[in-house]
């Protein structure tokens, strides 16, 4: 990355090869998304003509989106996913920040053993069968809490938060202590306001995790009415189950082509990630490096 390296720019053929390589790599990522959006907006004639997957639609119809938002299976799953993501992220953030703060006060009662317990969770996981049986014993099968509580606390996130809290200058918290503030006050009035950026990052870590979670739902939710979007996506898109008018909601008069509906489901599953993506990309990269350095 030195200045002198930049001066002797590589010869033209090498630059051309690089350019072509990067263009191809980027196209491999972008083209599928273009096709997915196109197919979701395509009319039945175009879908039939293309045999399913439309890369460039000549005309656009929103029928597929209208049908999945009409109150059927997909609408219900969207509500479930949004609910799980919002409630889960809130639970995760509250539990993680409180625990991270307690673990950041060195020398307090039980701090070392508790820190050890959290660190050890990073080393091994208990395994699928015991996890399932514990959720079952707690009576959480077919409860939305089964999609939240087992993954609510990530040891990695707690450690990242703790490292950040420990970096807050002791002068700030010490002066508050002398003024008689308790730990909860210091936490809410001093530590949290100074940690907005890291809270946003960790919050998004959790939110993306909840939104993308698929296997926990497969494991714990037998009632298909409580399925989140990822499981509906698996059933109707990956496994190609028939999605009829009755599944889409009673108000749909025109049933759009199956391929368009499938791609519309895919789009609504991807869009929330796309919305937070610019933020994710900027801060997750930093988060990964922080975790690697300090964790």
């Amino acid at each position: 990355m030195s200045a002198s390296r930049r001066l002797d720019a590589p010869p033209m053929p090498a630059r051309a090869v690089k350019g072509i390589a990067l263009t191809v790599i980027c196209a491999l990522v972008i083209i599928p998304f273009v096709g997915i959006v196109s197919t979701s907006l395509a009319t039945r004639e175009q879908v039939n003509a293309a045999g399913g997957f439309v890369l460039f639609p000549s005309s656009v119809t929103w029928d597929a989106y209208r049908s999945i938002f009409a109150g059927g299976v997909v609408s219900q799953a969207m509500l479930v996913s949004i609910g799980i993501t919002v409630v889960g992220t809130a639970v995760s953030l509250v539990a993680s920040t409180l625990l991270a703060y307690a673990l950041s006060r060195q020398g307090s009662f039980g701090q070392k053993p508790m820190l050890m317990l959290v660190l050890l969770t990073l080393l091994f996981s208990p395994g699928m069968i015991p996890n399932y049986l514990v959720v079952k014993e707690f009576g959480l099968l077919d409860s939305y809490w089964a999609l939240i509580l087992p993954t609510a606390l990530s040891g990695f996130n707690v450690i990242v938060l703790r490292s950040f809290f420990m970096g807050i200058p002791a002068e700030l918290t010490d002066s508050a202590r002398i003024d008689g503030a308790g730990h909860l006050r210091i936490f809410t009035n001093i530590v949290l306001p100074l940690s907005k950026a890291v809270l946003a990052v960790i919050g998004l870590f959790y939110a993306v995790g909840y939104w993308n979670a698929f296997f926990n739902a497969l494991l714990y939710m037998n009632d298909s009415g409580k399925w989140p979007l990822q499981l509906v996506l698996r059933t109707y898109v990956v496994n190609n189950a028939e999605l009829g008018a009755s599944d889409l909601g009673a108000t749909v008069d025109v049933v759009p082509p199956q391929a368009s509906v499938q791609m519309a489901i895919l789009v609504v599953t991807i869009v929330p990630i796309l919305i937070v993506y610019p933020f994710l990309q900027r801060h997750f990269a930093k988060g990964v490096l922080t975790g690697a350095v300090k964790g």
Partner: protein, 333 residues
Amino acid sequence: MSHTATDPVAVRAPEARAVTGATRPPSRRHKQRWYRRLHRDRALILMAVPGMALVLGFHYLPLIGNVIAFQDYVPFLPFGSSPWVGLENFEVILNGDPAFLRALRNTLVLTLVQVVFVFPAPIALALLLNSLLSERIKRVVQSILYLPHFLSWVIVVAVFQQIVGGSGLINNTLRANGLDPISLMGNSDLFVTLLTTQVIWKDTGWATILFLAALSQIDSSLYEAASVDGASRIRQLWHVTLPGIRGLIILLLILRLGDSLTVGFEQIILQQHSVGLAASEVLDTYVYNNGIVGGQWGVSAAVGLVKGVVGVILVLGANKVAHIFGEAGVYKS
């Protein structure tokens, strides 16, 4: 503080009491009795309670729940009260049950293939990105290539179906041109290739982050010195760039090997039905299919437990190896 003058007394007083009142002498001068510290830190303890409850309830309780690996688990009996059967559940491992061996072999083959093909991909991409002269192009390319990392496996598999699936883009194009469609996704011979391609598509971009960070840490005067000595760009790559990121490469490789027994569970379970168990059964899916689906709780818990224990040993062993190579491991010991 205004109490500085009286502080020594205040500190000594409880200690004096401790010496007279306790059966064992205090190990440290300022060590307070545990209940005093508990009382002092009660607010912190309360703050830790929700998080620790989740850790204990959903990590350590299941960990203890692994005892069912030594039991003939009966679903309707209270937790832990099923009859004990010793190592009976481990017989599939000890006697080399064919289904278990198949899962083990598929897992190791997949790990090996992915170490060879997936692991170097982000290094190559990072070198390519690092050699770009324009920061703006680099940022745009990064924005595009990081995206798939944030998509769930369900989405990635669905995306792949649209491109290489039976009625996907490639096969539709073939049909439109009068050619025979080729089975790329439901083909058990190509399953390992398919999984590997998907992992590369999803995570290569994101995995460049650590390598790019390491590349930016290389002292630029090394390149200048090499350049003055007449080293070509290829030689600079070989003698400056690669040695500069060697530590990270070894570390990540060791971590990956430590994780040998874990290969994309969600990714495989989503696609298993289309290629059959012979090609796709790995240890994690074996546990799922036999335990959750098949109801052989004890046996699958035993396999899961052995996998977990061996996994920890591999990670710790790998870390030891990293130390021997003189690289900073993940866990300092």
